[in-house]
């Protein structure tokens, strides 16, 4: 009987001590999303998706990030072209990011792009890191 109590105690200890350590790999219970795109035109359906998911997830909605890469990063310096995109981002929960490697390749000065865009070193690496952090990822 005494030994049985020791075993049950050890199981309880394992349950309390080990399982939460594994649980640390998912630090947030919020639902997060990221979409990787190389087309500015895709911001529209992406922002609509962001709005729908924010509504659908309610309090569980975390972040919705859009990372732009490729030659179209040059469009970020075109204020008229960017105006509707920034408006869409404001009206949805979409967070904007752009690839620094693409900016460099296309000779775009990061100082000339809207401040709403977070500059990430490498869009592909960033997407993989977000996926590792538990984000649902879609590459377009």
């Amino acid at each position: 009987m005494k030994n049985l109590m020791i075993i049950l105690g050890a199981m309880l200890f394992y349950g309390l001590a080990v399982v939460p350590v594994n649980g640390q790999s998912t630090p947030s219970t919020k639902i997060n999303y990221a979409v990787l795109t190389n087309k500015v035109a895709q911001f529209q359906p992406i922002s609509l998706a962001s709005k729908s998911l924010a509504q659908e997830d309610g309090d569980n909605f975390g972040q919705f990030k859009v990372v732009l890469y490729g030659p179209e990063v040059v469009q970020l310096t075109d204020y008229q072209r960017m105006k509707p995109v920034l408006k869409m981002a404001r009206s949805s929960s979409m967070k904007l990011a752009v690839c620094a490697m693409a900016l460099k390749k296309m000779k775009v000065d990061p100082a000339d792009i809207p401040p709403e865009f977070e500059v990430v070193d490498n869009a592909f690496l960033h997407a993989l890191e977000l996926q590792k952090a538990g984000f649902f990822i879609l590459s377009l």
């Binding site: 030994n3 049985l4 020791i6 075993i7 050890a10 199981m11 394992y14 349950g15 080990v18 399982v19 594994n22 639902i31 999303y33 979409v35 990787l36 895709q42 359906p45 992406i46 609509l48 998706a49 729908s52 998911l53 659908e56 649902f136 990822i137 879609l138 590459s139 377009l140």
Partner: protein, 140 residues
């Protein structure tokens, strides 16, 4: 002998609550897949993938959905391009889905979309919703 029995019992109990065991159990659940593509030509390798996964997963093969989006969405109305894929998809139980946002944006008559395809409002949103439901996703 009694101690050995109790140690074995302890490790059995540990194994039952350990995440690795939980992971193995999750492999017994249906495996569902969603692929988002912008090219009808990619249906050939996608359907070959579905065929291979169906064989691999056996009784655990769940749903396989293919969302077609983008500027070439009009190709879904071209029966000469679609017919071989429609037959194969139906044989495999693969669901072909056209993105309603793309149909509208690229002015494709929804009535001309083969009846074997279903339509969703926004392919990007649908993909993220499926991922949230546990589907394995690939964006092409």
């Amino acid at each position: 002998m009694k101690i050995m029995f109790q140690i074995s019992l302890f490790w059995l109990a540990v194994a039952m609550v350990h995440p690795i065991v939980a992971q193995t159990n999750s492999q017994n659940e249906p495996q569902n897949y969603v692929v988002l593509t912008k090219k009808v030509e990619q249906l050939t390798p996608i359907l070959l993938s579905a065929e291979a996964l169906k064989k691999e997963d056996g009784a655990h093969f769940g749903a396989f959905k293919v969302i077609i989006c983008g500027k070439n969405i009009g190709d879904v109305t071209d029966l000469s391009k679609m017919e071989p894929h429609l037959e194969k998809a139906s044989k495999l139980g693969v669901e072909l889905i056209a993105c309603g946002f793309s149909l509208k944006k690229f002015k494709v008559d929804a009535d001309k979309v083969p009846e074997e395809l279903s339509t969703v409002d926004n392919g990007i949103l649908y993909n993220l919703q499926m991922q949230k439901m546990g589907y394995k996703s690939l964006g092409l």
